[in-house]
């Protein structure tokens, strides 16, 4: 896997981590707030590790890759860009994304580059906890109409996280019928809005150390 392909995964983790970190302080229960915040932090941590690998090949730094690209240059999937601040949507996305990511990491652990394969193994070990958490919640909410509706809504976007050849496996794993996926092309207004906020301090004194 090359640097550009790594950026796709890194951008997914970064943007999803950003979205998930928005729940810090306002999640449905205090205990869950603490737990979910760790998941958000892990995602940012994964993004950082992936950016660091890509940065070496591209001759830049992780922070520059994370912050200093034009919003149009991010390769994140539409799934992670959605901003909803609704718990049913958040858990639906969390559950489907983690399952998709599990498949993606399985492939990445076989990468010919030992650094990439090694990082994938480390990420997978942390993600085990994310998967348990997502399944725990999906199980609890499974009879809730709002949750079922949220799953319906995000399912086509979840399929779009993976390359075409892995989508059937995802459908099988979550026991859903495959549908037409929403592909990774172009970006939503949601991402531009996120990018503006995410980079506002950094852009306020360009080139400064923070």
């Amino acid at each position: 896997m090359n640097a550009r392909e790594l950026l796709e995964i890194a951008d997914d983790e970064l943007i999803l981590g950003w979205r998930d970190s928005e729940w810090t302080g306002i999640a449905p229960s205090l205990e869950e707030d603490v737990a979910f915040s760790s998941i958000a932090q892990n995602e940012i941590g994964h993004a950082r590790a992936l950016y660091e690998l890509a940065a070496r090949e591209l001759g830049t730094t992780a922070d520059e890759l994370a912050f200093d690209r034009d919003p149009g240059d991010y390769r994140s999937a539409p799934l992670v860009e959605q901003r909803r601040m609704d718990w049913a949507h958040t858990i639906a996305r969390h559950y489907l994304y983690e399952t998709a990511d599990e498949l993606r990491l399985e492939a990445l652990k076989q990468d010919e580059d030992p650094e990439i394969a090694g990082l994938a193994a480390k990420m997978d070990r942390e993600e085990q906890y994310h998967r348990l958490h997502a399944r725990m919640w999906a199980d609890r909410l499974r009879d809730e109409p709002r949750f079922r509706q949220a799953l319906e809504e995000v399912w086509p976007l979840a399929l779009g996280v993976l390359p075409a050849e892995q989508r059937a496996a995802l459908a099988q794993r979550v026991e859903r019928e495959p549908v037409a996926a929403v592909e990774r092309n172009g970006h939503s207004d949601d991402l531009r809005e996120l990018w503006e906020e995410m980079t506002m301090v950094r852009r306020s004194v360009p080139g400064a150390t923070w």
């Binding site: 205990e31 760790s38 906890y129 609890r140």
Partner: protein, 90 residues
């Protein structure tokens, strides 16, 4: 439901009560306990127990001065002195 969390700080030491949390079931309680008491790798292990499963015991009766149960109930100094004097080893 309230769950009590006991944590072992490192291998070999006893589990000590660390706090309590509110969770709908044991699975959630475990997930919550992991983060509240382990996110900084500060615990070797945790025990997560439903508060209902814990029997609080207190109010111990000590009415009849059981000196044989206490260290200060054995006054050996005077007897040792006498024994040494008898043996000529004082």
């Amino acid at each position: 439901m309230i769950y009590e969390v006991f944590r072992q700080e490192r291998k070999g030491v006893a589990f000590a009560h660390a706090g309590s949390l509110d969770a709908p079931d044991a699975t959630f309680a475990e997930a919550f306990a992991r983060e509240q008491y382990g996110r900084r790798q500060e615990s070797e292990a945790l025990w997560v127990v439903s508060r209902e499963a814990i029997h609080a015991v207190g109010d111990f009766a000590d009415e009849l001065n059981k000196t044989y149960h206490r260290v200060d109930g054995y006054s050996l100094k005077a007897k040792l002195k006498e024994a040494r004097e008898r043996a000529g080893t004082a």
